[in-house]
Symmetry: C2
Subunit: 310 residues, 2 copies
DNA sequence: AACTCCTATGCTCAAACTGAGCATAATTCG
DNA sequence: CGAATTATGCTCAGTTTGAGCATAGGAGTT
């Protein structure tokens, strides 16, 4: 079957964790994700992403995985004759390097873009945000629609005694978009019936980059629960608390220390180095390293959860 | 950033379950997956898939989800000046309709393509296949490489007392490809050092369609364990055994009946219709229907496993 | 030295979940 | 009526999960 011709670009969600802050690499003063053209010289899409990311940012990319391919006509609506643009997005895990800043790339806290996703201090969400969403539900055309909207809001944001599900980052963002609360919605012509004053709605990004970032965060939060990918973000040696802080940073919620430790140990994900960490005013902690061989030993997918539970 | 121009096509893995047989829709006498061009008139990629699938096959598509985007240069290596081809694959769930056969489309048992994936009778795999893979490991250049290969084989196929993981369909296929055992490998110029005689290696497909099918099966097997997507494949009313047979067909292994029943009921995924099924020579079974409202009530992703465990 | 504060680390326990099996109910078939 | 067959209810041990108590090993303070 003959396929039509389109323009293709690669978009990367590059993630690092520094201390307790999850970071994402951005360009254009934090308003865009880095992207590059799909070039014929690359053997594969993934090779293409690796190539230009490593060249541009001088970051070794450990783990790379495809996220999603977008091609909505809404996006980049250029002149029609030119053809539609396809964006293939990738998630990459790395460690933050001393910023070279030569190309305007910068690491930013991803919660600057999604403040409502950080539940590490105070597991109860922002009541004003819940109220604004309720206003949106109330503004629906019919009573039935109001109930449907209110249910979606309650499920997505864990209201009415429901449990917060940290993995549905994208659903929450899309709900806020639909409600006209995030800045991108106004840009795209969606009207807002709520009072946005004083709400922490995060920094907007160009095009649908914030949506892609949400997709990446969601994927990563899901992945750390069944694959030991956190270690791609860790230095060669770390304490168990370092590891826990990283997982918490990604998951956006606090974990029970002893249980986290139990999980890590019974999974045999790490081994002692014999070295102790720098004293920090408490009992000194052992430094561990990742047991890289577990990646081959096990068929990850449906086995036990490597990290993050509660 | 200016993106280069490429050709784009959509490829669909359409799945149905009839009785105890998982089926996939194929064209070209079972040698290809249905595919269509990405057309500018479609609002989105998903809309494009829906449109041409429903027009071509007259099947209503319930659930549609993006699988993966391929663009390796190995694929469809056409004349270089023409540009690279991008294939965006989708997984679609539907129910088998009386075949209209007007366009050469036909439903086929997906285990015809992956015989080793069906472990419903005899949970122990084909010893001859294991032997052929061992031969491949032994044919490695170095001793270390032999051990590495043997480990990969053992993990992927659940050898040496390891547990069979039904979700890593793609890994197993790629291992067989690498070992030169599947027909596509020979076609692509990979030599085989094992004796292939008498092995059940499945029907080949054109291009990398069997790989895409493997991706779809893997995704679906994973998905049914945490999202109630099986119901997209069920008729409006069904017995619990029907449901179990469908899940078993997809998962490729048998489930403990009572535990399956317990899972379905405690998840409140179904409700009684009050109607009894046709007598089949045993105690008559109740007919159930899916409680469609659970899709909205819950935030599926990280909650309890809807189906399939043991 | 005694005390406080802090983080690391070990251990316990109940609730929930899983995997497996026993037992009984309601039919059809011969 | 008994055998075969399928549906359905219930039990039970082993494991996992969530939460808390207790102790260990350091630094700084009095």
């Amino acid at each position: 079957m003959q396929a039509s011709s389109v323009a293709a670009e690669l978009i990367a969600v590059l993630v690092a964790v520094t201390g307790s802050t999850p970071k994402v690499l951005t360009i254009a003063e934090g308003k865009s994700l880095p992207s590059g053209p799909l070039s014929p010289e690359h053997r594969s899409l993934q090779a293409g992403v690796r190539a230009w990311v490593e060249r541009q940012t001088h970051h070794p990319l450990g783990y790379v995985e495809q996220l999603y391919t977008f091609a909505d006509n809404d996006r980049n609506a250029g002149p029609r004759g030119y053809g539609r643009a396809i964006s293939i997005s990738y998630l990459g895990l790395t460690r933050e390097q001393p910023s070279t800043e030569d190309d305007g790339a910068a690491w930013g806290d991803w919660y600057d873009y999604f403040p409502w996703e950080d539940r590490r201090r105070g597991s109860t969400g922002d009541p004003a945000l819940a109220q604004a969403l309720q206003d949106w539900a109330d503004a629906a055309a019919s009573n039935a629609q109001t109930r449907a909207r209110a249910l979606r809001v309650a499920v997505a944001f864990g209201l009415d005694g429901r449990r917060w599900n940290e993995e549905i980052v994208l659903q929450r963002y899309e709900l806020l978009y639909e409600a006209g609360l995030v800045a991108e919605a106004a840009r795209d012509g969606i009207t807002c019936h709520s009072n946005r004053a004083g709400l922490a709605l995060g920094r907007p990004m160009q095009q649908d980059h914030r949506r892609i970032l949400a997709t990446g965060i969601a994927r990563l939060r899901a992945k750390i629960t069944y694959r030991p990918v956190v270690f791609e973000l860790m230095p060669p040696m770390f304490t168990l608390l370092d590891l826990q802080r990283s997982v918490e940073a990604l998951a956006g919620r606090l974990l029970h220390k002893q249980n986290f430790r139990r999980l890590v140990e019974q999974q045999e994900l790490v081994e002692e180095t014999g070295i102790m960490a720098e004293p920090t005013g408490g009992r000194p902690a052992k430094l561990f390293r990742f047991r890289a061989d577990v990646l081959q030993e096990r068929a990850y997918a449906g086995t036990k959860p490597p990290l993050a539970r509660s």
